[in-house]
Symmetry: C2
Subunit: 712 residues, 2 copies
């Protein structure tokens, strides 16, 4: 009789469950928590019999507990209860305040946000300790434990700890108030400003969970090309509503501030940063903001760049502007992130301008200002040398700005994993005492204010990022912002295990494909140090021929300088001499083509087409070989993916397959269009055996893309 009852109850439960099964659409990201095999389930259940935490719990601690319950429920079918007793098999969330007898944790080494995971005996019971000095640390530790479970760690012998090396780990949303996302390729903005603050989409919470799982602790809600409206009372109330959703996940909100707001909103005649009325306006505005959002993070500012207003409009410099805002925020603990991405029409080399404007200001910024520098000096190209400002402003905290959204790397359609790009810039040796990572984490010059910012690739698309694999770029950003020394391969392995499969061979095949994808895009778009070859406006397809834009340095021809005599931008002493902005040792190396790495060759040098490459080929032949290698690599990615069919759910396998087919076609488009164009300039025959472009140059030049997404 009892058996019958069980049968009926379970049959009903089964029915209830199965009716709701949804296709794998990617919404769950890397927090999938799918059922584990029976043998793992037993181990996991034995290690998650209960959750022991301080009571009453804070909202952050509640979020940690809820996530552990959700994860274990998903993987085993049963959520562990919250307990005050130290039962065997407990997950123990411990802070120093609890003073748990027998617990030996090096609290001082964990900092404010770090965590420790350890399976151990405690008061005679086998438990797993998640220890931290703050609730936020416990939240991060809880996600770390779930990551350990999902990536197949031995739960009986856990002994991990991690402390973030960077203080502010931020997403930058280039989201407009009308929900258009500049350089967004994943639908519209998540922020439904019109319905805020009343209507809180459940998705805001899942966004916060995903970020917290990576350690991201701040988000700039609106575009750096900002509207003053975002600083008005109605929009502050909306931002406050989002802050309320994010707060339990340790995430602060920030806003991009429009420099001319005192004129636009305050009715002042000027926005001059040295004008007392302007300073008073910002001070009052900061007070108003903190009244609305007590833990507001601060301002991100794009000033005197691409038409944005700024202090130079009044004959002041960037430090004058940043310090004025810093003064307003300082009483509240807020920071100013002042972007170094500037270039003026008259600059002789756009790559040199940020350095020229900012380096002389080193030491002039207020303590709560951090200068935010893009990874390279142009603009998020498939490959750039690291930005010369890194290491060159020792008295100024510098934030690293990475672009997660793939403005110049095939949008969300091309599979390009950015982990290797992030690693390349972070591990670049500045030759001024350390790597970019050591500049950014503050250790090289002893700065406490540290930040890494990523331009978000998140939108309303169900899969968040426009494609399944673009989720990995969000993931890699977050993990490497927490620890800039993480290896891209290791991070990709974590992601693939959680997102697709924990089966080692398939997981590693996915990782191989991801790691190969970045060099592939460099090769089929901009090999050998070429850059900015894309067509106007959309930044998607090839346009190396474009030479008619209003500003010289908007034209690809400005950047590649291809002519009958050769190709490449001379940034040595005989050219713009931008190379001299790097440390002398590096400048020396990169001034000579023979000691410049081939992947940066045409970034720094203008060379004849018959220049001999290390491969033994001429530059012309090498260029074509690289384009071919890029195409071949994409084809190879397609083959590898096809081989994974058995281990991936059919929905996502088919979806990725469709995207890879687009990429294979468009890699050829890039190759063919660029080769056709460069041949028209070089006048050289194609090397023997080269496949000629599928169409004539005029065809490629004729293509138009009027409604490309993400336009500025």
């Amino acid at each position: 009789m009892k058996t019958m009852f069980v049968w009926v109850a379970l049959a009903l439960a089964l029915t209830l469950g199965s009716a709701r099964v949804q296709a794998e659409d990617g919404y769950d990201l890397w927090l999938r928590y799918r059922p584990v095999p029976a043998e793992v389930r037993g181990v996991l259940q034995a290690r998650a019999r209960a959750i022991v935490a301080a009571t009453p719990t804070t909202p952050v601690l509640q979020a940690a507990v809820a996530e552990l319950q959700r994860g274990v429920q998903g993987m085993t079918g049963k959520a562990p209860a919250l307990s005050t007793r130290l039962v065997p098999g407990a997950l123990v969330l411990a802070t120093p305040a609890q003073a748990l007898a027998g617990l030996d944790v090096p609290w001082a080494d964990l900092g404010r946000e770090g965590w420790l995971l350890r399976s151990q005996k405690l008061q005679g019971r086998d438990v797993t300790v998640i220890a931290a000095n703050s609730d936020a640390g416990l939240l991060y530790g809880s996600f770390a434990w779930l990551r350990a479970v999902q990536t197949g760690a031995n739960l009986a012998r856990l002994d991990q700890r991690s402390v973030p090396k960077v203080g502010l780990r931020l997403l930058n949303h280039w989201d407009n108030l009308d929900r258009h996302v500049e350089r967004g390729y994943a639908g519209a903005s998540l922020w439904d400003w019109w319905k805020l603050p009343d209507i809180l989409d459940a998705r805001y919470t899942d966004y916060a969970r995903a970020n917290a799982s990576l350690g991201i602790n701040g988000t700039v809600l609106n575009n750096v090309n900002s509207k003053a409206d975002s600083l008005t009372a109605p929009y502050l109330a909306k931002a406050a509503a989002l802050a309320g959703v994010f707060r339990p996940y340790g995430i602060k909100v920030y806003l991009s501030a429009r420099f001319s707001a005192p004129r636009e909103l305050g009715g002042l005649k000027t926005s001059d940063p040295l004008d007392p009325a302007v300073r008073a306006w910002w001070k009052a505005k900061a007070d108003e903001i903190y009244k609305t959002i007590p833990d507001f993070g601060g301002f991100l500012v794009k000033a005197n760049s691409e038409g944005q207003p700024g202090p130079q409009d009044y004959g002041r410099n960037h430090a004058d502007g940043a310090n004025m805002l810093a003064e307003a925020l300082a009483p509240h603990g807020g920071v100013v992130m002042w972007r170094a991405f500037v270039y003026a029409p008259e600059a002789k080399d756009r790559a040199a301008q940020a350095f020229d404007e900012f380096q002389p200001l080193d030491g002039k910024f207020a303590p709560n200002v951090i200068v935010q520098v893009k990874n390279g000096a142009i603009d998020f190209q498939p490959r750039e040398p690291f930005h010369p400002l890194f290491g060159a402003m020792p008295k100024t905290p510098l934030a690293l700005e990475l672009q997660i959204t793939k403005e110049y790397l095939g949008f969300a359609t091309h599979l390009v994993h950015l982990g290797p790009l992030f690693e390349e810039v972070l591990q670049a040796d500045t030759h001024r005492g350390g790597t970019v990572a050591r500049v950014v984490d503050g250790s090289l010059h002893g700065h406490k204010l540290t930040a890494v910012a990523g331009v978000a690739n998140i939108g309303t698309d169900r899969n968040w990022s426009g494609s399944q694999f673009d989720q990995a770029n969000w993931y890699a950003f977050g993990r490497m912002a927490w620890d800039p020394d993480l290896k891209a391969a290791a991070v990709a392995r974590e992601w693939a295990a959680q997102t697709f499969t924990n089966k080692a061979a398939s997981r590693d095949a996915i990782v191989d494909l991801m790691l190969a994808s970045r060099e592939a895009v460099v090769d089929y778009m901009t090999p050998l140090g070429l850059h900015h070859l894309m067509d106007t406006g959309h930044h998607y397809g090839p346009g190396p021929w474009v030479n008619d834009l209003e500003r010289a340095d908007w034209n690809p021809t400005y950047f590649h300088r291809a002519a009958r005599d050769g190709i490449g931008f001379d940034r040595t002493r005989t050219g713009s001499n931008a190379v001299a902005q790097y440390a002398p040792a590096l400048a020396r190396l990169w001034s000579d083509p023979r000691t410049t790495p081939p992947e940066l060759l045409l970034w720094f040098h203008h060379l004849p087409w018959d220049h001999a490459m290390p491969s033994g080929r001429t530059l012309w032949a090498e260029l074509i070989a690289r384009y071919d290698a890029g195409v071949a690599s994409v084809d190879d990615m397609g083959r590898r993916w096809a081989g994974l069919r058995a281990d991936i759910d059919p929905e996502r396998h088919a979806e990725v397959t469709a995207y890879l087919a687009v990429q294979a076609r468009e890699a050829r488009w890039w190759r063919d269009a660029c080769i056709a164009y460069f041949q028209s300039v070089s006048g050289l025959p194609l090397p023997a055996g080269t496949r000629p472009p599928a169409q004539g140059l005029e065809h490629y030049k004729s293509l138009r893309f009027g409604f490309a997404p993400g336009r500025g």
Copy 2:
């Protein structure tokens, strides 16, 4: 041992199921197919043991079978198999071609798309017959059976049949190629043009399923304010990809055609519809379209309206323009839907212009042209009298254009059910021989070409329509397009049962709330025949004071004409005499305030503030009483909804509650702003006991909404 095995297998299944359970987010619309109670499950399983259908199946038939399987699977946990044998308990999908012995169906009465559902004995077995003359009819019949199940019909005694009264049942998407939706309040456009034709979002299929479930058989993909680009080869390929997804669901694609395309795309010097080169260009374009989309539906055209190009640019009339396009489409069986929504700056009464331009052209249109007329002569106001063209163009097929998206009725934030509005216009007596429904279904004047179009309220929001209750407007549109004589209450009952609960008391409470909501919005926005009182651009909040727009007939003051002497637009002989466009019997009634229904009073009459109303109140007091009634009705909706908490899932209950709170606040805003303004004009004291507006008029006038969604 066997029991143990079952236990383990079921426990695993339970785990697998429960891990994927998702919150109720509204994505499933009315096709939820949630598990039914055990007693119903038995009956349902006995009535769906197998699906018998012709083999090999066509794609449309496959879609029907798949939907039946999905539905039964969801409700009972087990999908019926496809069978060739007539087993007891089968669902038999029958067409005349199968010549099933013993089956007696009045085939001739079912037409091309109609269906019959009948539980009966067939060859000695108890079965359910779904019969139709076409696969599309079987698809509609299958959805009808699922609807019958979900609304609690007696499955042992089914005997229903239905034949659509209108041939073309179309959604009009005002979706731009950049994914902005004009008057869209549910996120961005579903159509990801950039990724089409390669990437086919799974959502396209669910969109088609939802439409097919209602009988919608066509969709115009792009905005009537159109770009010529949508007629270029790349965009035709994208439209063809969507057509491929929709085809198995009986849905054809249509495009809005830009009248100036011959100049913009073809390089011609003119788009004059009488120019042979222009005609040849359209003919070639039609040939190209049909080569790409063999079952293309036709063109929708907005011409010489609000700045759109059209035949009048060349001194030609609407018939000249429409007939040129009709000529190009006719060889392929395509239709032209030519919109009658026109008004010129110099018109003395905007409400009169469409009639003045179109009525004289009656009989001048080609046979494959249908003139598409909005329900009223202004523009989708909370209430308008039916459009005077209905009944006045007997020689011309007229399509009814309804607006499902709530441009003027509180966007997706306010709960306003449109079923009663649709019913009101369809059942309006034209006094020219029949109701609007009889004009639209072609029966009054013997037209075979018939159409009802609805401006879609669908976007990328997870719940499709921006709010849960806005889904009901899509539903009501589709059902009433199929059968214009369906009652709004019956349709709402179906929807509520499928979408929320089949428990009679709760279902009926939801229906009551829905039915009350339309009069509520009329009362708190534009009572007593007032119209077009909204603020500029966004069309959301009140702006009765606006009088400074470029064109007179964009100003609310133009429409309400409130002054010290009274309020209302005199459309009788002493005014614009637009009332004379109606049938004489009706014109007579509506020319006299005493025989004009109060709800249309100020549409046709300018009356003194102390005009005596049937209620005994003065007009001024009645106006305020109506505003108060609107606010009270919204409060009442909130109370009713709160009482339903036990029967609605917590996610959707909480969400709707939040929306109703916004609506309650904003109904007061409308009331207070309008009363404050009208009082400033009338100079009259508020009647005793009236709650004064919460703020002064200047406050309401100062509100700005710069980033309202859906702007044109």
